[in-house]
Amino acid sequence: MSVETAATGATPARRMAPAAPTSWRHRHLIDVDVVTWPEIELIMRTTDEMKGVLARPIRKVPALNGRRVTTLFYEASTRTRVSFETAARNLSADVVSIATATSSVTKGESLVDTIRTLEALGAEILVMRHSVSGAPYLAAEVFGGHVLNGGDGWHAHPTQALLDLYTMRQHLPDGDLRGRKVAIVGDILHSRVARSNVWSLTAAGADLWLCGPATLLRGMDRWATAWSGGTIPGHGRFNVTSDVRAALRDADVVMALRIQRERMQGGLLPSLREYAARFGLNAERVSLARPEAIVMHPGPMNEGVEIAPDVANSGRAVITEQVANGVAVRMALLYLLAGAHEAARGHEAPRTSEAAGTSEAAR
């Protein structure tokens, strides 16, 4: 597994861009790959104000009054779903929540038919989680409103990546990630969180390290190599390694990913115990990171597997902050997406170029 040690690039040209706020032009948010750095900064600034709303005596504003937000979750989730619904309610939106286990999906209704039905019932913003990578792109093709991806297969989890970025910025001087070492340790292969974080953290100029057993890094080294070849101008490169000590040494941010038992078919790991012994974040390993480093986890945690209980509950852990920031980030995204209506219809790139995404992200 190659270990890139070269400096992560922060392009001066992009950084010198004026502080003038950019506007939001995306009708959907399916991954952060098509979101430019100024747009990410707009999300961060809008999130700041949403945090302000959450600190008020009345934690609710009428910004999305009368707008209809529907959550459609084909996969189990509590925190993401509740976070989206809380965010929508804080903006005074009307929330409809579809649990597929009790819906017509169990009678064999297709995704497309379900989405058409929800639209006919008045859904304007569709928050969707699906076990199939790419399902939200199909949804975006048939749905007349906005699709906000709440996680699809192994592909993307953009709101998690953005709340992770927001949380890191809160803990770093000036909120600047340039050159800061971020180590993500765990089941990278099956992780949509890791994939979305690659886009946003390299855009932020972080020195990103992905670490896990070789079987759980498959394909990532090729991606990392392509990156350093300058695929996306202005993005930092990232590193892939199975050497957990190298990944953690002098890290500013340490993030553990859940070992996803439900996706662990085909003997990718000898045992969870062996994983915990070789890669689990314990106090000794975390001590390799900088003294002020923070410890993150997107949840839900398997304490004692990918993260030791004393690390998860230590003063460095910002895991509950991540959850709280998640509501504010999702409020910001619902707010921004809701504005990209009527006038913006049809302006988004079609599925093929959006899935490729690379040329747009470079702008």
Binding site: P21, S23, W24, R25, L42, R45, T46, D48, E49, G52, V53, R56, P57, I58, K60, V61, P62, A63, L64, L91, Y335, L336, A338, G339, A340, H341, E342, A343, A344
Partner: protein, 189 residues
């Protein structure tokens, strides 16, 4: 079409001094007074009013900033969401007399939003309104308690208040709408 100047920097300064006296006179003192500027140009105007009051009363009033974006009633009419600016009310509104400060009073919708927003923060004893320019054409039953200058306008005209803190110079101009591509003008309600 060229813009015509309707207030000079000196005239703005005198209007601020006069309004600062009016505010204190109406309250019969400075007790329980607070100033809240509406983003963006209401904020520096509120700070100037506070400075003027401090000069003649020797009391520094609390000053806040209010962004009304989340309270606008026209979000479904604009193509893109307005950029959200900071709200900072570093004092307890309960029982205070809050003077809202804005640059231009036009339809009154901004002020309605501002009152909605303020009331979410607490229960002021009274809310008053000070504006530098009142240009008429109200769409809501709202009036200002303190006005720098009344300017009769047509709906096609655009009144632009420039303040040094944001625009580099103090002046008020009036122009025609055909240049309304300017974001500052288009963003005003």
């Amino acid at each position: 079409m060229t813009d015509r100047q309707i207030m000079t920097g000196d005239e703005i300064r005198r209007a601020i001094v006069r309004i600062s006296h009016e505010i204190v006179e109406k309250q019969a003192g400075t007790q329980g007074l607070a100033l809240v500027g509406i983003q963006r140009r209401g904020v520096p105007l509120a700070q100037r009013l506070a400075a003027a009051i401090e000069e003649h009363e020797g009391v520094r009033l609390p000053v806040g900033a209010l962004d009304i974006t989340f309270y606008r009633d026209d979000l479904s009419l604009v193509a893109q969401q307005p950029i959200v600016k900071a709200t900072a009310l570093p004092f307890d509104l309960n029982g205070m007399t809050v003077v809202l400060v804005d640059d231009v009073l036009y339809t009154g919708r901004t002020i309605r939003c501002a009152m909605d927003a303020l009331i979410d923060f607490g229960r002021p004893r009274a809310i008053r309104l000070a504006v530098l320019i009142d240009r008429g054409h109200r769409e809501l039953p709202i009036r200002a308690d303190h006005v720098g200058k009344n300017v009769p306008t047509s709906r096609e005209e655009i009144v632009m208040v420039h303040v040094e803190e944001i625009d580099g110079a103090d002046e008020v101009t009036i122009g025609r709408q055909d240049r309304s591509a300017e974001p500052a003008a288009a963003g005003r309600q």
